[in-house]
């Protein structure tokens, strides 16, 4: 059953069209990969879904309701959460407080004590349990990336939008990350997953969408998409795992 449906989503910044009539659909329990060359509009699309950017045209439906004009916090309450490509922890909060903030104001709003307890469980899940009380400034890059995921999970979303959470990680860290993403589905979440590393996406994703210059280029099963000549060409004619 369809959880998210974007129809004809268009985003213009002044005279520049960042997204042109993009369609995208995510079903319940599905991991959808979103790939494309730099500047193809992946993050912009994510931002329009999360509500940080208003669309210029098109509609976004979530769980059967039109959320095109909803504010970011409404979408968070409705069950959409996101991460940022460059981690943006709240700098003066500790690691667990960052996550607890998501617990407090997410889909199931809760008091501070309950939120802190839940935050610790989430941190255990992403492997940051021992850093719960740390300052966020002391975390390494991969820990920050995982904190970003933990905070998104903390909202207890139905749909989680992951923006290059594995970028810049070494192979063993990336492997941990992929395990984590795969586990989200078993926790009842659907995922839209942006990654530069097409190979990683194709391993995890049930279906893939490819954007190029703000337009839908191809979508379907990972294997089919990767074989699509248009996709190969879009990636500068190079090998698909570039």
């Amino acid at each position: 059953m369809s959880l998210l449906r974007c129809t004809g989503v268009t985003k213009r910044f002044g005279g520049v069209t960042a997204l042109a009539e993009v369609d995208l659909e995510v079903n319940e329990g599905e991991i959808v990969g979103l790939v494309g060359p730099n500047g193809s509009g992946k993050t912009t699309l994510l931002s329009t879904i999360a509500g940080s950017l208003p669309v210029s045209a098109g509609t976004i439906e979530f769980a059967g309701r039109d959320i095109t004009r909803s504010t970011p916090h409404h979408r968070a309450h409705a069950g959409i959460s996101r991460t940022f490509q460059v981690p943006r922890p709240l700098p003066s909060f500790s690691v667990e407080e960052n996550v607890a903030t998501g617990c407090m104001f997410g889909r199931d709003s809760m008091g501070r004590t309950a939120a802190l307890a839940k935050a610790r469980t989430v941190l255990e899940l992403v492997g940051l349990g021992e850093h719960a009380g740390s300052e966020v400034g002391k975390l390494t890059l991969h820990e920050r990336k995982f904190l970003e995921i933990a905070r998104a999970i903390a909202l207890d979303p139905q749909l989680i939008l992951l923006d290059e959470v594995l970028g810049g990680l070494n192979p063993s860290e990336a492997a941990l990350g992929m395990e984590l993403i795969a586990s989200l589905r078993t926790r009842g979440m659907s995922v839209i997953y942006i990654e530069h590393n097409v190979r990683a996406v194709s391993t995890l994703a049930d279906r893939m969408y490819v954007l190029n210059q703000g337009r839908n280029l191809a979508h379907g099963l990972p294997a089919d998409v990767l074989d699509d000549p248009r996709v190969v060409e879009a990636y500068l004619g190079g090998p698909t795992d570039a």
Binding site: T71, A76, R88, F105, R107, R112
Partner: protein
């Protein structure tokens, strides 16, 4: 104790209690500046307005001063919400907001002159003797006196600052405010309702002006230009205390007023307003200076 050490103790006590009043005013400014990013000079005008409204309700309607809070606190909450709503509607940058609050500051002075007359208004003659007569401290300090209104200022300051600090640090809404201050976009994606929260914080900050205004009305004669006399001490307290820190603002106000008063006892009183800024300057200059000394000492050790 000798006369002069008694005098110093009394001066410090008076300064500390006056600091409580300025701390109550600085509270709202600090919260709005620190958490909403608006250096709201209009907050001082609101305090003045609170004092005048209290004056009118007490002198003309013969209300009990505390009863006036039933009217002023909710009314000021709405004013605070309204002002913030204007900032949001205009999508005002910090500087624009500063200019707007400054304009409101000027306009309020004129408006107060027009509504209440620019002449001096004093509630004190109407107050019961028991409220205006100083109380002697119990043994071992019977020479020291405090005014009941100053005790009221103390209680109001401690309650408002305490509640604010608790709410900001320990409650869910307080955490939302802090999250919003650090990164408003992130806070929104985490589900924080930024707009209503901003309006509510502004409203609550303005309500504190109603309470501070009541104390002002009981404490001193009113004239429309009073905020100009407060602005130095209040801004210094706000900055010294750390923006957005209620307890810091109160403590800083108390310390600054104690230093200012002690200064006036031994040195020419006309310099005392400069003392507050002197303290702020030392504080601001002191940080980098200490860091510089520490770094150069480390460098020497390494070399």
């Amino acid at each position: 104790m000798s006369v002069s050490s008694m005098a110093l103790a009394q001066t410090l006590l008076n300064g500390a209690l006056l600091g409580c009043l300025f701390g109550s005013i600085a509270l709202g400014l600090s919260v709005k500046w620190g958490h909403l990013g608006v250096a709201d000079f209009f907050h001082l005008s609101l305090t003045l307005l609170g004092a005048y409204v209290t004056y009118s309700l007490v002198s003309e309607q013969l209300w009990d001063p505390f009863l006036t809070l039933v009217v002023t606190v909710p009314a000021f909450f709405l004013i605070g919400v309204g002002v913030q709503w204007i900032f949001l509607a205009l999508k005002a940058e910090a500087f624009t907001a500063l200019l707007i609050t400054f304009a409101l500051f000027m306009v309020t002075e004129s408006a107060v002159s027009m509504i209440w007359s620019p002449d001096l208004l004093n509630l004190r003659p109407m107050l019961a003797d028991s409220f205006t007569t100083s109380l002697r401290l119990p043994e071992p300090l019977p020479q020291l006196a405090v005014q009941p209104v100053d005790l009221l200022a103390l209680v109001c300051a401690v309650v408002m600052v305490g509640v604010s600090a608790f709410a900001l640090g320990r409650t869910r809404s307080g955490r939302a405010v802090q999250a919003m201050r650090q990164d408003s976009e992130i806070a929104q994606t985490l589900g924080v309702r930024v707009v209503p929260l901003t309006l509510a914080v502004s409203g609550l900050a303005a309500s504190t002006a109603a309470v501070a205004g009541m104390v002002v009305a009981l404490r001193m004669p009113l004239s429309p230009s009073l905020p100009l006399q407060w602005i130095g001490a209040v801004v210094v307290a706000t900055m010294l205390g750390g923006l957005g820190r209620p307890v810091g603002a109160l403590v800083a106000a108390i310390v600054v007023m104690m230093i200012q008063n002690a200064w006036s006892l031994w040195f020419p009183p006309q310099w005392s307003p400069a003392v507050a800024f002197g303290v702020l300057f030392l504080f601001l200059a002191g940080g980098p200076a200490i860091r510089f000394v520490r770094e150069s000492m480390t460098a020497r050790r390494l070399a």
